[in-house]
Symmetry: C2
Subunit: 361 residues, 2 copies
């Protein structure tokens, strides 16, 4: 069993400005990688620009990261970093910009074709500083970058020890401006990470205590995402728990929820956290049957009596989950069953099982 998480994490209000000198250690030129609007709206971009200016660091901004970034999208950002001669990359945003930033850092130092990022790359990537503006992805502390490819491979993960960000700044002020629905969806993503980590073959005593802590906090806070605006203490705890859930999956990887969720996102346009949240009830119903001891750990960490109360919680968080047609369920099961995550699931799963789960959401 291995435990490794080398990212230097800072938490708390103004943690970025208070530690701005750390950027200087990463170099003299930075590429900021973000989406069209959330980095600015969250206030994180302003803090980053102030920090870079104070430290005399030159920068350019690539704000073209798409929701569920494609390989080509990250490749473009990496090209921009190389062209600018960036010494490091600052990713600001939810999972999409952070994952794109981490992949761009690989492209920036390796002259490779876009799809070659899934193989061995020769040079170390540029160092990355990650600044989450949602409380869900955990990408700021994981060695993963999830990129969209095509219909056959909706999302595929680049992974490796070289993918960990060097720095992560978790300031809950940046999640204040999150749209109400995004706050709910991203919190469900974090919950899904922690739950999957426990229901994963690679679960260990190290990953489990981390996941339990995350689930405990999420259990207490997740319904607060329904109250807009979310109070600062809750936002701080949600951001902290989503980071912990990221550390948990760093140890274990994820399960079929993630592979199936990728299909729901790609083919049915469900946001990532929404998709994972919708899949949790059918997943945990099966977990209760095939891995009852582990399922009980999840309910106990959430202080819930069992699966029924868990499903009620999900209904309150996601009152309008669209039904999946027979045809779509069949098609998506055909795709998601091929994902490697299935090997990590605690019980064996067939295509028909996945189809049934899609129909049950």
């Amino acid at each position: 069993m291995r435990s490794f998480m080398p990212t230097k994490v800072f938490c708390g209000e103004n943690c970025l400005i208070l530690n701005k000198h750390l950027f200087k250690a990463l170099g003299e030129k930075a590429l900021i990688v973000c989406g069209r609007s959330s980095a600015a709206a969250s206030g994180a971009l302003d803090d980053v620009l102030a920090a870079l200016t104070d430290e005399g660091i030159r920068y350019e901004i690539y704000n073209g990261v798409l929701n569920n970034p494609t390989v080509l999208n990250a490749y473009e950002a990496g090209g921009k970093a190389a062209e600018f001669g960036a010494d490091f990359i600052i990713g600001i945003g939810g999972g999409s910009p952070l994952d794109a930033a981490k992949a761009a850092a690989v492209y920036a130092t390796n002259r490779i074709e876009p799809m070659e990022i899934y193989g061995e790359t020769k040079n170390l990537p540029l160092p990355v500083a990650a600044i989450p503006t949602t409380a869900g992805t955990g990408s700021e502390v994981t060695p993963y970058s999830v990129l969209t490819i095509d219909r056959e491979n909706p999302k595929v993960t680049v992974k490796g020890d070289h993918m960990f960000p060097k720095l992560a700044f978790l300031d809950h002020r940046y999640t204040k401006s999150l749209p109400a629905d995004v706050a709910v969806h991203t919190a469900l993503d974090a919950l899904s990470h922690a739950v999957e980590s426990i229901l994963c073959k690679r679960n260990s005593y190290i990953s489990e205590y981390i996941a339990r802590e995350a689930i405990g906090i999420l259990g207490e806070e997740i319904e607060n995402t329904l109250k807009y605006p979310i109070n600062p203490k809750s936002r701080e705890r949600l951001l902290y728990a989503s980071m912990l859930a990221g550390v948990a999956i760093t140890h274990t990887g994820t399960t079929i929820i993630h592979s199936m969720g990728y299909s729901l996102t790609y083919f049915m346009d469900m946001p990532h956290g929404f998709a994972n949240g919708a899949l949790l009830p059918p997943f945990l119903r099966r977990a209760e049957k095939y891995a009852p001891r582990e399922a009980a750990k999840v309910f106990s960490a959430m202080h819930l009596p069992g699966i029924d109360e868990f499903c009620e919680l999900i209904s309150r968080l996601l009152p309008n989950i669209p039904k999946v047609s027979e045809e779509d369920a069949e098609m998506m099961a055909n795709v998601s069953i091929k994902n490697k995550n299935i090997l990590q699931n605690l019980w064996s799963v067939t295509k028909d099982d996945e189809k049934a789960m899609f129909l049950e959401i």
Copy 2:
């Protein structure tokens, strides 16, 4: 608040042999730093030599680490590493060899006078792989090396992000041959780390959940150290908990227990863990008064009703704590009150307070 622990940790039986290829990434020549006997007796040295031989790595052994190593002792080991042209250092043993190994790694790459290790050093130390043969120190995951100086400064800590070992291998088979008393003392060291972390000014929600997990396991297992031989499951859990307690103090530092314990070790020849264990009751009695909320967290994590039951536990673990004379208490308080750890204590402490605590053990 910062969280950083970049050591790659492996746990489990044979984890060293299973990951022997990682040594190759550290270089072609290794200096093994250990004490006279425990590295060999534990079986760890045999595993290391087999791994190095398999990987074609040349090595020399410095087995001159003293109990409570002095600055000069570590300096000598560092000189040996430089002379041999070692690319990395493998520390095997309890806290003494691991701390000496970490300091030797600094001396090996920096031409400095022995005491200059407490200042800024120009070059990065050699990478260190740490292999604990006791379940207590946590040194395998901390950025600390505690060295003995003199009467005025019994032990002083070298610290910094450069001090983290690169690799740590936690195989509970290596703690099987621990002498019965050492097993008890080192477990008390781990307990002290976790307790102090919670009773420390820098305690945070991150350090606290780590410390709580460590205390919970230690609470369940610590009396098993009295039964020789200790069963493998308990040894595994103790080793894991001592590592977690190391991560906890990596986040927070320690309190007056450690500074006072250094005096008990230097002047009264008490083993480090014994000294810390002896100080826990007077420390927690005061904590109950001055920091009742934090003290309650400790008792609750141990499933103990309160301080009295905690003191009874310590009496069972350490039935023969030597009394300290008035004169010695005065002298040691004069020394320990100067240690910087006092600044981290949750309540303010005078020399007379420390003297009273020495008299109470």
